[in-house]
Symmetry: C2
Subunit: 381 residues, 2 copies
């Protein structure tokens, strides 16, 4: 397997982008990325996007984006793994370069959620239609069940959950590409509209439009480019039951743990070696559970960990320095690639006001559904 | 790049399978395939499917199928490239093994089209929504424009087109897994209901449910299995403009030609070396144009080529021995994988009444939209 590097990245400001179409957003992020990498050729394109068919009536996204980027006839394909589509697209691009088929691959993630589609229904297609959705469950409901089980089992409180949102909004206030750049308080979260008890609207990531891209290359190509070389040292993906009720324990995210174990093993590093992580905080409870599954803190101690500030910019392991899905926004297919963009910017020392100290090894973890799929990547300077 | 082999294949009879769900069909084909390969482990899963979100309200297909196959927590992802989703899923599985990440990969294609969705709308999402579909075009209309241009430019007739359907129905009559196992005549095609002049319903592939799978492995694993080793010697993918009107010539399928050139180059073979090909005959005109782009006959001579019987089971280059999309059926995401199943069965000498002589090297070509994406693979004993 060949060594693979991330040599360019680009993102557009996430938000309710009513004046930009799906293809507009992708092309804008892609052109920024190609400029950043300084490459004059692309061998192959991967686009992560969850459900453009339901959101905007368009499939065949790989070919569409190659076309509008002016990159046809390069091979191009769309990758879907619900909200982990971006992370899985990155993994497929990684394998393409690692195999020797391509030297320079563009990976993008994009989603257009605000064009009038029924967003709750469209997102529900990530759950088990036959055994969950047709019975009336939605994603806030699924994560509410996880949150209630967690709070009961580990004596955590709604305040613990709220602290994840407060931290991520603070980080997002330092990120010019975040959808919400506003600082919030614990009371703001606790007093916000209840969506599915105990999850309020401020425990939830927003509905967003956005796109992010990266250029990945072989080491041979990377050495010729005038950019810091960010190596992809670990890649792990895993799955779990699609339906939440089929798991042995509601608060255990097996796919997250296994995807991380695979990535750590491949990279030859331990959780303690990681300097920052971007993780899938679609709801506040998700970040707490994921922090545990990634091995940053033991099971049941995640709530206390965030309370102590250990996941803040100045903590032991800064998590979601970008603002995370909560504050940066969550255009679902774009999220996994946006996570890579943040880690690359941190490792390069380009993260501006939210730059952490001594960023040498970073991790991204992107999740689909209520945890039925997870993909973890580890990057080093 | 490691050598990659196809060591197992399985397909279910295509049709209007009202008693089988999306997951039922996939699991049935997958279990047949795993039995055929004789493997006791799978490292990774790729599922090609075009638009299950619109057809049955379900995305997150990779994780769903890993779950219902009992294969979780293996990595699993869904690949979409419109009607080329199956072929592109095969390519991603190929890259996974070639890279060294996985030793044994299951690739499946599946589509459930008869569950009540608006099929014409769902399929139209493979075209350019902004510049084609919103103006009222559908796929029969797009291919009718290609057919009219071809007939005008090369003095071909509706009878030429009809001969493709007649040949493919004859082949399909010998395939127990074909949706339609009936022999038809040229008059049956010419007198059938007109869909979009000059394309009748008998020039068109049907609406189908179905699934097909293959197991691909490294050469090291292949040598330990008690099966003929079918090597994947070439893989090429390419794209073109999504919208038909943006091309210089309506009858030229650039993506098909370029995907084939890449596959021939990688395999080190020429069109004359190919003993059989499964190609994307979504409409009769498509098979004629593709036969030319693959280099089996020169441009403009494809109609005459089929008339002379050169593409029949006993011809110079048998095309669509399975019955093709026209007669075997076209559950869109399954098609690209079903093509591989047919070539593997022919190379193994297991194709029953439709077995051709001296099948040593076979080719599959799978297309998306009106030709905006194409993927070609070449296989040898």
């Amino acid at each position: 397997m060949r060594d693979v590097c991330v040599m360019g990245c680009g993102i557009i400001k996430f938000g309710e982008l009513w004046n930009k179409s799906l293809r507009d957003m992708f092309v804008e992020a892609a052109l920024k990325t190609i400029d950043d990498a300084g490459v004059d050729q692309i061998d192959s394109l991967y686009v992560g996007t969850m459900t453009p068919g339901l959101f905007v009536g368009q499939e065949h996204i790989g070919a569409l984006m190659a076309d509008y980027l002016g990159a046809a006839p390069i091979p191009a394909v769309r990758i879907e793994s619900a909200c982990a589509s971006g992370g899985m697209a990155f993994r497929q691009g990684f394998l393409d370069v690692a195999s020797g088929m391509s030297d320079i691959v563009l990976v993008g993630g994009v989603e257009k959620m605000t064009d009038g589609a029924d967003v709750t229904y469209a997102l529900s297609t990530a759950a088990d239609q036959e055994y969950e959705v047709y019975q009336g469950i939605t994603f806030p409901g699924l994560y509410a069940m996880i949150a209630n089980a967690y709070m009961h089992q580990f004596k955590a409180t709604r305040k613990h959950l709220a602290q994840v949102a407060v931290k991520n909004h603070y980080n997002g206030s330092l990120n010019p590409n975040a959808q919400y750049q506003s600082v919030i308080t614990i009371d703001d979260v606790l007093n916000a509209t209840m969506v599915a008890d105990p999850i309020t609207i401020m425990d939830s990531s927003p509905v967003s439009d956005g796109a992010a891209c990266v250029v990945i290359t072989s080491m041979e190509v990377a050495k010729k480019l005038k950019k810091p070389i960010i190596k992809v040292i670990g890649s792990g993906a895993a799955t779990d039951t699609l339906a939440l009720h089929q798991r042995n324990d509601l608060t255990t995210l097996n796919a997250v743990r296994i995807s991380a174990e695979k990535a750590y093993k491949m990279a030859g590093v331990k959780p303690d070696d990681i300097n920052l992580a971007e993780v899938h905080d679609c709801f506040t409870i998700a970040e707490i559970c994921i922090t545990e599954e990634l091995g940053f803190v033991e099971k049941g101690k995640g709530a206390e960990f965030v309370e102590k500030g250990e996941t803040a910019l100045t903590g032991k392991i800064p998590i979601n320095t970008s603002g995370g899905l909560k504050s940066k926004g969550h255009p679902v297919g774009a999220t996994g690639v946006a996570q890579v963009v943040e880690v690359v910017e941190q490792l390069r020392g380009n993260a501006g006001k939210r730059q952490i100290k001594n960023a040498k090894i970073g991790l991204t973890q992107n999740m689909g559904g209520s945890g039925a799929s997870s993909v973890t990547h580890i990057f080093s300077m």
